[in-house]
Subunit: 342 residues, 3 copies
């Protein structure tokens, strides 16, 4: 009996199937420090326990994207080991901040299946939940991937395509308990711009750039226990290791501090596309566009919907060509909700 | 008076000599996170405090190999600064798990000496103990190295070659207090294979590979305060920095998760050889062979003796040529005992 | 309204101006572990909680230079984003050790201004304080930089050149409360040389070297939230990323363990010059010169004033040419006070 994990193939999934992913992980101060070493992360709420307490939290949580990476990483051996493509994200919500000492595990439910017309692959939709040691769901999101079939002759399952929201409504967003931006310290946070200073349609060039290195993206990807071969093994992919898409997300989000220092907490992920692959030696830059704004019930807290685009060159604010396709310099197009002082 | 450390030469050792090594080190959550960033480590007991508690421990210990590296690193300035070769390990035992907050120091006793026939070098055997802040020995092992003489005319010491066990007997192994695998969660651990599923003689190709980078192996080696020049200084070794053998051990052990996810705790090191040097740019892969199995007195806990081989290419399961020498692609041949749920 | 930070220009500073820098930062065990991974740091007081307690402290503090880097990094967006050159440091004092869990912020006061004769740039002197969560100043230092003018026609400010001490007097140094080296363990510390064994004028070649890598200096620089473009973005500086001067300081200080293992705590920074830029691929070595010695009021504690020189090649102890200029191989010339057991 072969002992290693061959991954699941398309015909191994069925609607309603629940997959409990290995390996649980206790996150702590070490992960926080490493996040600051790997990304130019400066959002004050995730940098200072004092600042976070002044905003009504018990302390500085793990970066929201780090929590996402930990939850996501666990799903790789079960969901995307035989994936041909990572097709999309939707309905991502951060439900509770993750604090040092918390232990996370992940659980996915198959909510959609559609065999492709070529008969060789199919699309699998899963809703994944990250769960802490108290059994509380700290985040959930839907992801869909194209997966190979093991046996081309296996019968196609009944097609189920889940209805997913294109965009989370403001009422879908969960504001962390106790969050209060009434006494927000804009000086310590690094920028004076508040929720009211941003207009829908406004674009921001985040100016800074980082040329990425092999050792860094591998350390990041391993830290989230994401084991996909393409990120690590040059004999498997001699043309260059493919950088984990989440590394690009975190890099772009950290770069967006310059202009969006007060977009403190990420609470919703509406969608995202890894438009082009990223390799070491490329220089990641970022720009944002304000897509929407909404009030919330928490004191002093506004919600802002942002498009975050990571590029590897070219001018900012160029997303797609006339053919509707992403420009070749675009690495990432992410649509998310953040919380900001009003 | 020269202030820098010239290291010890062969004639500086004598039987019974006890060397207290500098520098004590407090290990914590940071070391744990870095271990996960540097190696694709996924064994659940070292990843999750909750999982470790469910196995009867007070929390998730520092990886056994990280504990070994910390203890080993301290011996380098006293034992191997003038070493020509690292010849072997034997009788290595993990006696107590190391937890975040523990402070480790190392103590070595010279137990063997043998001048080589060329009169220029000699072999030194030391038994090293890692000791925590309570004065408890957390691990011990024997290591022997070939060391240069300072003065070729110095008289040869009486030859003492210690009798060392080729393999630790199951009764030599120390099971951590409280360890209990009766309620072991195979789903969270990542694989269903229990002690009973492995057969002596069985071989496992761990499939995954990691192409190693300079920044990573240097960070790892420094983390253990191992200061040997060959690992860091390209002017000293222009043909390439030699990667610390322990980096290869940890990489191979982490890769062995895929097929041996339940070989949770390392409790014995029977022997080990660094068959060929490792340099950055090489891709480390690993395979294992089951050498032996034994029951233990702890509930649900079995012992498994494994050969762990790291390679830089070639097919798995090829260890030695017809001449009995290691194949050129073999980096490491390690013989250890691990604990596994029955 | 542009949302990104353009940095301050020369005419934006005025004497007496106080700048509260963003972003506060809680430091912890993760930063300590990363410091040990990035530098070959071995001073026992910063490695072992037990050793630090035996010296009268509550535990092992964050490395003094790490504390400096955190405080310094915060000033970059406000002080040196448009700097042409980092001209010098003076009157740096470590006033309180920083412990895991402390939160640091920085505050600078403009104490000097002098427009250059070319009318395009000027020199700005700031005194920066690092402040912990109790409002205590943990360190302060003066730094001066050459900054571009935004508008060449802006009027020159009145010239104010602060009087700065060339060297801190021993009475200026603040000994950490409780520090006591009477029972100092030289064996655990790694070297037998005490304060009395060093003579003014003595020079020490620290022997070891480290060839620096891109990933490492970027991780270090980000960890201190230093965002200067030149360190990260190869499209901005295609001839090579400039390595943060503080990375060279920490590397040289860590290398100086070999010969100065007992120069445990840094308490004063008299001055420092980054003589030549540092790039990845260079090998950093270090040598020291004893400049002065002084007794202190703390039990068993002596002060030693050291010149620490980092080089990228050449012979040790060669600082300047006949023209008085730094040799091309000199990277750093640092003048500091450390505390040592008597």
């Amino acid at each position: 009996m072969a002992k290693t994990n061959p991954g699941r193939f398309f015909e191994d999934y069925h609607i309603g199937q629940v997959i409990a992913h290995a390996v649980p992980r206790t996150v702590g101060e070490g992960e926080r420090a490493l996040y600051h070493a790997l990304y130019p992360a400066r959002h004050a709420l995730y940098s200072s326990d004092e600042f976070a307490r002044d905003c009504g939290l018990e302390g500085s949580p793990l970066d929201d994207l780090a929590a996402f990476h930990v939850v996501f990483g666990k799903t790789v051996p079960d969901v995307s080991l035989n994936a041909v493509a990572n097709l999309g994200y939707a309905e991502g919500r951060w439900l509770k901040p993750v604090f040092p000492g918390d232990t996370l595990r992940s659980l996915s439910e198959v909510i959609g299946l559609k065999q492709n017309s070529n008969g060789k692959t199919g699309v699998v939709w899963v809703r994944t939940r990250g769960i802490n040691q108290m059994g509380e769901t700290v985040m959930d999101y839907v992801r869909w991937v194209m997966v190979r079939k093991r046996d081309i002759d296996a019968p196609a399952p009944e097609t189920v395509v889940p209805e997913l929201k294109k965009v989370l409504a403001p009422s879908d967003l969960v504001i962390p308990e106790g969050l209060d931006f009434s006494n927000y310290d804009f000086t310590l946070a690094g920028e004076p711009h508040r929720w009211g200073d941003y207009e829908v349609g406004e674009t921001i060039d985040h100016v800074d750039g980082v040329t990425v290195e092999e050792a860094e993206h591998m350390m990041a990807t391993r830290l989230w226990q994401n084991t996909a071969k393409v990120h690590f093994d040059l004999t498997f992919r001699p043309e260059g290791r493919l950088i984990y898409g989440g590394h690009v997300i975190s890099m772009a989000r950290a770069l967006s501090f310059n202009g969006l220092a007060n977009a403190q907490m990420i609470v919703g992920l509406n969608g995202g596309a890894h438009a082009n692959p990223c390799f070491s030696g490329l220089t990641i830059k970022a720009w944002s566009e304000v897509l929407d704004k909404a009030e919330t019930s928490a004191p002093g807290v506004g919600a802002i919907r942002l498009r975050l685009v990571a590029t590897k060159g070219g001018e900012p604010f160029q997303l797609r060509g006339e053919d509707g396709k992403y420009n070749k310099d675009v690495l990432l197009d992410l649509d998310y909700w953040a919380l900001m002082p009003m």
